[in-house]
C-alpha cells in the first residue's frame, strides 16, 4: 500500500461518521449528495456600485488608499506621453516588458533598451531593470486589484522583480468584483489555465516591524496603473 492509499483510506474511514452542518448547533447531519452552500459570495462581498463611473471612482479611491498610482487618460497617445514623462522623472535606464497590443507601441517610444521577458531571458538582467511594464487581464473595482497571468503579463517575474511595476490597461478592462474576475478567468482560460494567476493589490508591503506599513518589502516599491 502506498502512502497515498494509506492516507486516503484513513480519510474514508474517518468520514464514515458524519459531522454536523455549520450553524446547525450539532443537530443536522446532511447526506453527502445534497447542496451545502446556501448562498453565493457576490451578495455578501463589499458593494461596488451599479454604473461604470461609480466603479471607476471606487477603483481610484481604493488605489489611493493602497498607495498605488492610478492615472486615467482620454487616449492611448495621452497615456504614452505620461509614460515618457514618468521615464524622464525617474531617470529609467533599462526597461523590461513583454510583447502585447498595448506594450509594443508604447515601449518602443521610450527609446530605452528593452528586455523582453516573453522570450528566454537572463534573470540577472531583469533584476537590473528599473521598471517592469506589463499588460493585465482585468482591473477589479472592488479591491483595486490588477489581475495578471504569466501568459498575459510577461511571465512570473516581470511584475515582481523590478522595483517599479507599470500596468497598461484599457477602460473596458475594468470589472466589478472578485466573482466577475473568476468568471472572466474561466471564460478566457478554462481549457488551459496559465501556470500562474495573480491578483496584485497595491505595491509590495510589510507590517512586520511594529505593524508599521512599509512599501517595497521584496516586490516593487511602486505600482503605477495607467489606463485609457
Amino acid at each position: 500500500m502506498t502512502e497515498r492509499e494509506k492516507i486516503l483510506a484513513r480519510v474514508r474511514q474517518a468520514l464514515k461518521t458524519p459531522a454536523p452542518l455549520p450553524g446547525s448547533h450539532g443537530k443536522i447531519h446532511l447526506p453527502a449528495a445534497e447542496q451545502v452552500r446556501t448562498s453565493t459570495a457576490k451578495q455578501w462581498l463589499p458593494f461596488v456600485g451599479e454604473s461604470f463611473d461609480e466603479r471607476l471612482a471606487l477603483f481610484a479611491k481604493n488605489a489611493a488608499e493602497l498607495k498605488a498610482d492610478f492615472q486615467l487618460f482620454n487616449s492611448a497617445d495621452e497615456m504614452r506621453a505620461a509614460l515618457t514623462r514618468l521615464s524622464e522623472t525617474e531617470k529609467w535606464q533599462r526597461v523590461a516588458g513583454h510583447s502585447g497590443g498595448l506594450t509594443d507601441a508604447i515601449c518602443a517610444t521610450l527609446g530605452l533598451p528593452l528586455l523582453r521577458t516573453d522570450r528566454p531571458y537572463d534573470v540577472n538582467d531583469l533584476e537590473s531593470c528599473d521598471v517592469g511594464i506589463s499588460e493585465c487581464d482585468a482591473l477589479i473595482a472592488q479591491t483595486s486589484s490588477v489581475l495578471v497571468t504569466n501568459r498575459s503579463a510577461g511571465g512570473r517575474a516581470l511584475s515582481v522583480l523590478p522595483p517599479h511595476h507599470v500596468v497598461l490597461a484599457r477602460r473596458e478592462q475594468l470589472i466589478a468584483d472578485l466573482p466577475s474576475a473568476f468568471e472572466l478567468l474561466k471564460q478566457k482560460y478554462a481549457a488551459n489555465y496559465p501556470s500562474m494567476i495573480s491578483f496584485i493589490t497595491g505595491p509590495s508591503r510589510t507590517g512586520d516591524i511594529e505593524r508599521i506599513l512599509v512599501l517595497g518589502a521584496h516586490g516593487p516599491k511602486k505600482l503605477t496603473i495607467l489606463c485609457f
Binding site: K6, V11, A19, R156, F199, R205, V214
Partner: protein, 463 residues
C-alpha cells in the same frame, strides 16, 4: 520538565512582563480598528461567514474526493505530487529532492507547516543554507526563535531590538526606522532569490477543480520564491482544500480581512504547475507534498472535525485574552492561541497537551470571530472531557467523591459548614502559602468569609 510545567512557568513570566503586554496591546489594538473597518465593508459579514463555513465543511467532509481531483489535475500538468503520513516522511521526501538536485541553498516563503515538521533543522543538518524570505520569519530566523504568531511572526519585537539584531547578524548601520530596516532585509535577500537552487513555499488553499495552489502574501517574497529557483516545493496539510476556483472570491478577502485588516493582501497567486510549454520563466520542476501528520485523526473526531476548516488567519489568537497575556511562545507549540489549544492535543497527544484546554477563560471570543465558524471554545471543553474520561485524575475523583458524600448528607454538611467557619480565621496567616489548602485560589485572590447564617436557616426563620 513536562510541557505543562513549562507552560505554567512561561505564562507566569510573560503575564507579569508589562513591556511585552504593552507591545501586544498596541499591535492588536491597531489590528482591531482596521479589521472592523474591513468587516463593515462587507454587505453582510455574518452571511459571508456562514457561506465560508459551508464551503469548507463541504471540502473537509468530502476530503477523499477532492484530494483525488486535486492530485489528478496537478499531475496532468507535470506537477510531482508526494504524500506524507507524518513529519518524518515529509522531511525525507524533501531531503531526497534536495539531494537529487545537488542543491546547496534554499529560499523559503512563509509556511507554518514547515515549522510543524521542523524542516529547517533537517535541511540545515543536511548542510544546506536555508533562508526565510518573509521579513518577520527572516527576523525570527536570525534570532533562532520560532514564529511568535502564525501571521505576524515578529510581533513581539520592537524596532530597536530588530535594529540591534541586524547590526549584529548582518553588520548593517544603526537605524530604528522601519523603512530602512525593511530595506536592509530587502537588500540582504535580493540575490538569494536568484542564486537559490530550491524554493519552498506553503499554501493557503488548494483548489481541487483546477489543480492549483493559492498563496496569500503582502511582500512579494512568495511570488519570487515560486518564480526564480529551478525547483520549487510546496508543502501543505491535506485539509487546505477548496472545491472550486471561484470559492477564492470569498476566501481571499476574508483571509485578508481577518488576518491583517486588509481588503485583499498585495499578492494572491494561484499556481497550476511548473513552467508550461511556451512559458519563459518559472520552475522546471514543481513538487507538491501533501501532509497528513495526525490530521486524519482529527478528521475521525466528527465532533471536532470543523477544526480542519481553519484557514490560519490568526483572528482567534488576536482576540484571545489568554494569548494577549501569555504571548505566542509560552504555548510551546507550532500553532498557538485557541486554534492551537484545540488541535495540538490531536496533533501531539492529548495527555501531554490537555493543559492548553484549561488555558482559556471560555469567553467564546475565538468562536465569535472565526471566519469559518469553528466552535473553538466548545472544543476546548470537549478536550477537557475527553482527557478526564481517558485518564481520570485520582485526586479529582477523590475530591468529588468526598464532596458528593457530604453534600448528600444535610446534617454532616451543616456541621462541616459550622466547623469550617470557626477555623476560617486560621487560614488568614497562611493565605497563599504552601500550608493553605486553598492555595491555588488564594495566591491572587481573597477567600470570602463563610456566612454566619446559611440560606436554609434564613428560610426556616422567615417562615
Amino acid at each position: 520538565m513536562t510541557f505543562v510545567s513549562q507552560f505554567l512557568k512561561q505564562a507566569r513570566v510573560m503575564t507579569s512582563d508589562l513591556r511585552h503586554r504593552r507591545i501586544i496591546r498596541t499591535a492588536l489594538g491597531n489590528y482591531e480598528i482596521v479589521r472592523d473597518k474591513r468587516k463593515a465593508a462587507f454587505q453582510n459579514w455574518q452571511s459571508a461567514r456562514q457561506l465560508a463555513a459551508e464551503t469548507k465543511w463541504e471540502a473537509v467532509n468530502h476530503l477523499d474526493q477532492y484530494l483525488e481531483e486535486l492530485v489528478a489535475k496537478l499531475e496532468a500538468r507535470g506537477t510531482k505530487v508526494h504524500w506524507a503520513s507524518n513529519s518524518a516522511q515529509a522531511r525525507e521526501i524533501i531531503l531526497q529532492i534536495v539531494t537529487e538536485k545537488k542543491a546547496r541553498s534554499v529560499i523559503k516563503s512563509k509556511t507554518m507547516t514547515s515549522e510543524e515538521i521542523h524542516l529547517n533543522d533537517a535541511l540545515e543538518h543536511a548542510g544546506l543554507n536555508v533562508v526565510e524570505s518573509d521579513l518577520g520569519e527572516f527576523i525570527v530566523q536570525l534570532r533562532h526563535e520560532t514564529p511568535y504568531h502564525i501571521v505576524f511572526p515578529s510581533m513581539h519585537l520592537t524596532r530597536d531590538e530588530i535594529s540591534e539584531l541586524f547590526q549584529r547578524e548582518l553588520g548593517s548601520a544603526a537605524t530604528n526606522d522601519p523603512e530602512e530596516l525593511t530595506m536592509i532585509a530587502r537588500d540582504a535577500l535580493r540575490k538569494k532569490y536568484i542564486t537559490a537552487d530550491i524554493g519552498i513555499t506553503g499554501a493557503n488553499f488548494a483548489i481541487a477543480e483546477t489543480g492549483m495552489i493559492s498563496i496569500t502574501e503582502n511582500e512579494g517574497n512568495a511570488r519570487l520564491t515560486a518564480a526564480l529557483p529551478k525547483t520549487v516545493i510546496s508543502l501543505l496539510g491535506i485539509e487546505k482544500i477548496l472545491p472550486k476556483l471561484d470559492d477564492l472570491a470569498l476566501f481571499l478577502p476574508m483571509l485578508a480581512t481577518m488576518g491583517a485588516g486588509q481588503a485583499l493582501t498585495a499578492y494572491n497567486t494561484m499556481y497550476g504547475g511548473p513552467r508550461q510549454p511556451g512559458e519563459t520563466d518559472g520552475p522546471e520542476e514543481w513538487h507538491v507534498v501533501l501532509l497528513d501528520n495526525h490530521r486524519t485523526e482529527l478528521l475521525a473526531d466528527a465532533e471536532q472535525r470543523d477544526a480542519l476548516q481553519c484557514i490560519r488567519c490568526g483572528a482567534c489568537l488576536n482576540v484571545c485574552p489568554i494569548f494577549r497575556n501569555v504571548g505566542g511562545h509560552a504555548y510551546g507549540t507550532t500553532y498557538s492561541g485557541p486554534i492551537g489549544s484545540v488541535i495540538t492535543p490531536h496533533l501531539r497527544g492529548l495527555h501531554d497537551w490537555k493543559h492548553l484546554s484549561n488555558a482559556s477563560s471560555l469567553c467564546g471570543a475565538c468562536t465569535e470571530t472565526c471566519p469559518v465558524k469553528i466552535d473553538l471554545h466548545h472544543h476546548l471543553l470537549q478536550n477537557r472531557r475527553n482527557a478526564a474520561q481517558e485518564k481520570p485524575s485520582a485526586s479529582e475523583q477523590t475530591t468529588y467523591k468526598l464532596f458528593a458524600f457530604a453534600a448528600n448528607r444535610p446534617k454532616l454538611w451543616n456541621f462541616g459548614r459550622k466547623v469550617a467557619r470557626l477555623f476560617q480565621p486560621l487560614q488568614k496567616p497562611v493565605k497563599g502559602t504552601a500550608l493553605d489548602p486553598a492555595k491555588a485560589w488564594t495566591q491572587t485572590r481573597d477567600l470570602p468569609p463563610l456566612a454566619k447564617e446559611s440560606f436554609k436557616d434564613w428560610w426556616k426563620k422567615r417562615k
